[in-house]
């Protein structure tokens, strides 16, 4: 019998992890289990409804270290689902003892700090691309060029917005005296 698949397009910002994993859990409770994520498109497979929790980790990692990283998750009961760039998706039964992937504030903060750094690195790159495209536009404006300009500009704004929100999340976390 063919596997029953379902694809959903959903947009989640980087700081909306909780919202995203909550949605994925609800899908699993209805029998739709996440099997892949590709640029905002989530693919689910129909199986038995189960209470499964999900986690999306951000890890900039060398190729030779990936096995060890995934191994530690596996041993803590987290199944690797897929990877999209530096984003890794995992699932685990809801009653897992190790359901807190980041068990202290310090490491949770570190994850967001690196994420913020990635945003900051991207900003000048995007800004430069915008500058180059707009210079070209001034020389000879074509429709595809206009579309490219529009997309780059939208991404640029999104990165700025995301940076602001992330900074707020981080400063909120920093206020806790808890380690």
């Amino acid at each position: 019998m063919d596997k029953l698949l379902k694809r959903c397009f959903r947009l989640f910002w980087v700081w909306q992890e909780d919202k995203e994993v909550k949605w994925l859990r609800q899908m699993a409770l209805k029998g739709w289990h996440l099997i892949n994520v590709f640029i905002f498109v989530y693919t689910f497979e129909k199986r038995e409804p189960r209470d499964i929790i999900y986690y999306r980790d951000f890890k900039s990692i060398k190729k030779r270290d990936v096995d060890e990283y995934l191994d530690i998750f596996k041993e803590a009961g987290w199944k690797y689902i897929c990877r999209q760039g530096n984003w890794f998706y995992f699932s685990s039964p809801a009653d897992n003892k190790y359901k807190e992937v980041y068990s202290d504030n310090h490491s949770r903060l570190e994850k967001y700090r690196i994420l913020l750094l990635t945003h900051i690195v991207f900003m000048p790159i995007l800004f430069n691309s915008l500058r180059i495209i707009s210079n070209r536009m001034a020389d000879n404006g074509t429709i595809p060029m206009g579309i490219l300009m529009f997309i780059t500009f939208a991404v640029f704004l999104a990165v700025i917005y995301s940076t602001i929100r992330l900074t707020a999340v981080i400063s909120k976390m920093r206020k806790s005296p808890k380690e």
Partner: protein
């Protein structure tokens, strides 16, 4: 700058780093560390995999722990052990923690007597 001053700059260690470090006074792999720390702390500390991976990585990069044994063997799982520097830092931390506990005990006792 001598070694000891360099080590002092790493203090105080987070609870997570400290427990990973002391558990690696014997060679262990990732999951072994999780189990040992859980046992040592009577179940108080349960490391998440993200936290543990980060701590191992960090401690290794600053040279407090290192890969243990024959890395060319077929043993897939990486095992770690504390380095001499790591051992030294544990001693420094023991002194710091002792001071904290002694001071806290003394002050709370004084304040109890004054009530």
């Amino acid at each position: 700058m001598n070694e000891k001053t360099k080590l002092r700059k790493l203090m105080p260690l987070t609870e997570t780093s400290f427990y990973v470090l002391i558990s690696l006074l014997e060679p262990l792999h990732g999951y072994g560390i999780m189990q040992k720390v859980e046992k040592l702390s009577n179940g108080r500390i349960i490391f998440g995999p993200g936290t543990l991976y980060g701590a191992i990585n960090n401690l290794q990069s600053i040279g407090l722990i290192s890969l243990y044994g024959d890395t060319t063997s077929n043993e897939r799982k990486k095992t770690y052990l504390v380095t001499d520097n790591g051992r030294e830092l544990i001693n420094l931390e023991i002194a710091r923690l002792k001071e904290m506990v002694e001071n806290a005990e003394m002050l709370i006792e004084n304040s109890n007597n004054n009530v």
